[in-house]
C-alpha cells in the first residue's frame, strides 16, 4: 500500500508542477490622455487595443492601420461631412483594464461606438459596460461564439467582423470536398479544447452535407504525445483527408506519426496551425498540409492596403488584426451613414441590416440572429517547402 501511496503522491506533485507556470502581468504604460473637444462636427470612435504586453505586436500594428484608415476616410469627407476622431486606449489584453478603458471611453470621451478588443475573453468582459450603455462594440478577432451570443440570446450591441472558430470547420470541409475532391475524411481532435471540439463538429456536419463520408473520429487530451493507436484506427479506411483542428504542437506530432504509419492522404487544419513552430516540429511530415486562416499578406484584395501601410510605416502589417480593425471601421462608417444618427441603438440596428458591404477583406453581410458576418471569406494556406503559402480565398456556399 505504501508503494501505491508513493505513486499517488508523485502524481499529485507532478500535476502541481504542470499547472504552476502562469505568466506574470507586465504593467502597461498609460495610453494617450483623452482630449476634451465638445465639437459636434466630430464623431468619436473608441479603439480598445493591446498596445503593450504579449499581444502588442498585433495591437501596435492594428492601431497604426486604423489611424491610417481614419485619416483616409476623413480626407474623403468623413461621415456626411463630420470628421472621425479616434480615441485609442491600451487594454494590455487584460479584461480588467479593458473594462476601465470602455468606461472611460463612454463616460469621459462620449464615444459613439467602440472597435475592439481582439481577444474573446477581453471583449466579453467589455460587454458588461458597453451593453448597459447601449454603445455598439465591434470586435476585431474575438472568435469565441459567446462574444455575441450569450445563453442563446444575442447581445444587442455587440458584433464582430471575423468568423467564429467553428466556422473554420465548415470552410475546411467544403474546401476538402470541392477543391481537393475528397470523398472520405477522418477527424482527430483535442477533447480538452472547446476550439478543437467545435471545429471537429462543424467539419463533420458540413462534410456530410456535401455528400462525403466521415470514416472515423478520434479524440485525445491536450498534451498527448502518442497518437499511433488512434491514427492506426483512422488509417484503416484510407480516408482522403484527415482533419486535425488542434494546436500546432499536437498537430505536428500527429502528422509525423501518421506518416510513420504509412498514411498517404492529405492533412487539413485550422488557424492554430499558422505558427512557424509547426514546420520546425513536423518537418517533412507536415509538407503539403492545408489550413484555414483569417488573413494572409498574399491576399490579392488587400495588396493596396499593404502598400499604403508600408509607405506610411516602413514595415508589413502584422495580420490579421489590422485588416479586421479596418473592416470594423468600414462597417461602422456605413452603419452611421445609414442610421443618419450617432445613437447607439440606431447604429446597432443599421449594422444588423448590412448586406454585401464591400469591406477590405471581402463582402460582409450580418446575421441579425448572431451578429456574426455570414459566409465571410476565409484564407486557405498550405505548407510548402517549409513556408506558408497562400492558396486561395475561399467563400463557403
Amino acid at each position: 500500500m505504501k508503494r501505491l501511496l508513493a505513486a499517488a503522491m508523485v502524481l499529485c506533485l507532478l500535476g502541481f508542477q504542470l499547472c504552476g507556470c502562469g505568466g506574470g502581468q507586465k504593467p502597461g504604460s498609460e495610453a494617450k490622455t483623452p482630449e476634451e473637444p465638445k465639437d459636434p462636427e466630430v464623431i468619436k470612435i473608441g479603439h480598445a487595443v493591446a498596445l503593450t504586453g504579449d499581444a502588442s505586436i498585433w495591437g501596435q500594428s492594428e492601431s497604426n492601420a486604423l489611424k491610417m484608415w481614419v485619416n483616409k476616410v476623413n480626407d474623403q469627407g468623413g461621415i456626411d461631412g463630420k470628421k472621425i476622431q479616434l480615441v485609442t486606449y491600451d487594454t494590455r489584453a487584460d479584461s480588467v483594464e479593458a473594462v476601465n478603458v470602455a468606461k472611460r471611453m463612454i463616460e469621459q470621451d462620449k464615444v459613439v461606438a467602440i472597435i475592439g478588443a481582439a481577444q474573446s475573453g477581453v471583449t466579453i468582459a467589455m460587454t458588461a459596460v458597453t451593453e448597459p450603455a447601449k454603445i455598439p462594440l465591434i470586435s476585431t478577432t474575438a472568435t469565441n461564439p459567446e462574444v455575441t451570443v450569450k445563453d442563446g440570446v444575442v447581445r444587442p450591441h455587440t458584433f464582430r467582423v471575423c468568423f467564429i472558430d467553428p466556422f473554420q470547420g465548415t470552410v475546411a470541409a467544403q474546401f476538402a470536398s470541392t477543391k481537393l475532391g475528397a470523398k472520405t475524411a477522418a477527424v482527430l481532435y483535442d477533447v480538452g479544447s472547446d476550439y478543437s471540439s467545435w471545429l471537429a463538429q462543424y467539419f463533420i456536419e458540413a462534410f456530410e452535407k456535401m455528400g462525403g463520408t466521415v470514416l472515423g473520429k478520434e479524440a485525445f487530451r491536450t498534451g498527448e504525445l502518442d497518437y499511433r493507436a488512434m491514427l492506426g484506427k483512422l488509417k484503416e479506411g484510407k480516408p482522403d483527408v484527415v482533419f486535425i483542428p488542434t494546436a500546432q504542437k499536437e498537430a505536428a506530432l500527429a502528422m509525423k506519426q501518421a506518416r510513420d504509419l504509412g498514411y498517404e492522404g492529405k492533412f487539413l487544419g485550422g488557424d492554430n496551425w499558422g505558427s512557424p513552430d509547426i514546420i520546425e516540429l513536423g518537418g517533412s511530415a507536415v509538407e503539403g498540409g492545408y489550413f484555414v486562416n483569417l488573413a494572409s499578406l498574399e491576399d490579392p484584395d488587400i495588396q493596396d492596403f499593404i502598400a499604403e501601410y508600408r509607405a506610411e510605416y516602413g514595415s508589413d502589417p502584422v495580420l490579421p488584426n489590422p485588416v479586421m480593425a479596418i473592416d470594423a471601421l468600414i462597417v461602422l462608417v456605413e452603419a452611421i451613414k445609414k442610421a443618419g444618427s450617432t445613437d447607439g441603438g440606431a447604429i446597432a440596428k443599421a449594422i444588423e441590416e448590412i448586406k454585401d458591404l464591400e469591406a477590405l477583406t471581402g463582402k460582409i453581410t450580418y446575421d441579425p440572429a448572431t451578429h456574426n458576418p455570414l459566409n465571410k471569406p476565409a484564407i486557405i494556406q498550405q505548407i510548402k517547402d517549409g513556408q506558408f503559402i497562400y492558396v486561395e480565398k475561399y467563400v463557403t456556399s
Binding site: 508503494r3 507532478l14 484506427k233
Partner: protein
C-alpha cells in the same frame, strides 16, 4: 488492425520498458523510487538534440553522447543528493523526497536556461516505413525497439557475467553483508547510477526523436514508473514485462474501447495488480518499501 495495434503497442511498451528498467535498477539496490530518473531522461533528450544540431555530430555519436551525459548526470546526482543520506543511514522515504527535489530542480533549471521552447530533432533516420504483413512501423520505432532490447540484454549480461555485476546483485540482496565481504559500496552504488543514467540518456534520445524535447517530458516517465510497479519494483525482467504489458494495454484500449479513457485503464490496472499482488508481477517480498 489487430496486428497493427499489437505492433504499435509493442513499440510504445518498449520505450516504457527501457525507462522502467532504470527505476527498477536503482530500487533493487537502494530500495527507493528515484523520481529524478525522469529528469535525467529529459536532459538526455536535450543532450542528444544539442549534440546533433549544435555540434553537428552524427547519430551514433549523439546516441553515445546522450548515454554518457545521462551516466554522468546520474552519478553526480547520487554523489550530491543521495550519498550524504546514505552515509547517515537515512530511511528510504528521505531518499525519495530528495529525488523529488532533484527532479523539480532539474526541470526548473531547464526552464530558467533553455525556456519552455519545444525542440524538435532533425530527421536523422528519415521517414521510411517497414511493412510487416499489412501493418506498418516507422524505422525509428523499429530501431528504438531493437536498440532497447540490445541495451537491456547487455545490462542483464553485465549483471550476471561480470564481477561488478555480481557486486551489484550482492548489494541488492544485502548491502551490509556485501560490504563485509569486501564489496566497495560507494563504487558499486555509483556504478548503478551510472548504468541507470546511461539507460535514461538512451530513453531520452529516443523519446526526443519520437516526440520532442521539452522541460515537462516527465509525465511520460510517470507511465514508466507505473510499468515498473506493475512488473514489481526492483525486478529487471519485471520492468520489461510491465512496460510491454502497459504499452499493449494502452494501445488496445485506445483502439477498441476509447482513446479518451485510456489512462483510466492504465491506472486501474496498477491498482488491480497491487491489490492482487502487492509486490507486482515479479517483485520479491521485502519489508518496508517506499
Amino acid at each position: 488492425m489487430l496486428l497493427q495495434t499489437a505492433i504499435t503497442g509493442l513499440a510504445i511498451g518498449g520505450i516504457y520498458a527501457l525507462m522502467a528498467v532504470g527505476y527498477s535498477l536503482v530500487f533493487s539496490v537502494l530500495n527507493f523510487s528515484n523520481f529524478a530518473h525522469g529528469s535525467v531522461i529529459m536532459l538526455g533528450a536535450y543532450a542528444g538534440y544539442f549534440i546533433l544540431t549544435k555540434a553537428g555530430a552524427s547519430f551514433p555519436v549523439a546516441l553515445a553522447g546522450s548515454m554518457v551525459a545521462g551516466a554522468v548526470l546520474g552519478i553526480t546526482n547520487e554523489r550530491l543528493a543521495y550519498r550524504p543520506l546514505r552515509v547517515r543511514n537515512a530511511r528510504p522515504l528521505y531518499f525519495m523526497i530528495s529525488a523529488m527535489g532533484v527532479a523539480i530542480f532539474l526541470e526548473n533549471l531547464v526552464y530558467a536556461t533553455l525556456g519552455a521552447h519545444f525542440y524538435s530533432y532533425p530527421e536523422v533516420l528519415g521517414r521510411s516505413i517497414v511493412r510487416i504483413g499489412g501493418a506498418s512501423i516507422g524505422i525509428l520505432d523499429l530501431f528504438a525497439l531493437a536498440f532497447s532490447s540490445v541495451a537491456i540484454t547487455g545490462l542483464h549480461l553485465f549483471l550476471h557475467r561480470t564481477k561488478s555485476g555480481l557486486a551489484i546483485r550482492a548489494c541488492s540482496f544485502d548491502m551490509t553483508v556485501a560490504s563485509v565481504f569486501g564489496v566497495r559500496i560507494d563504487r558499486t552504488v555509483g556504478l548503478v547510477f551510472g548504468l541507470a543514467g546511461a539507460l535514461a540518456g538512451l530513453s531520452g534520445i529516443f523519446l526526443g526523436m519520437k516526440y520532442m524535447a521539452y522541460p515537462t517530458m516527465g509525465w511520460i516517465t510517470n507511465k514508466a514508473y507505473v510499468a515498473a510497479v506493475i512488473g514489481g519494483l526492483g525486478s529487471l525482467p519485471g520492468a520489461v514485462i510491465g512496460g510491454i504489458v502497459l504499452g499493449l494495454l494502452e494501445t488496445f484500449v485506445s483502439v477498441y474501447v476509447s482513446s479518451i479513457i485510456r489512462d483510466v485503464f492504465s491506472f486501474s490496472a496498477l491498482v488491480l495488480v497491487l491489490l492482487a499482488m502487492p509486490n507486482g508481477l515479479m517483485g520479491k517480498y521485502v519489508e518496508e518499501k517506499i
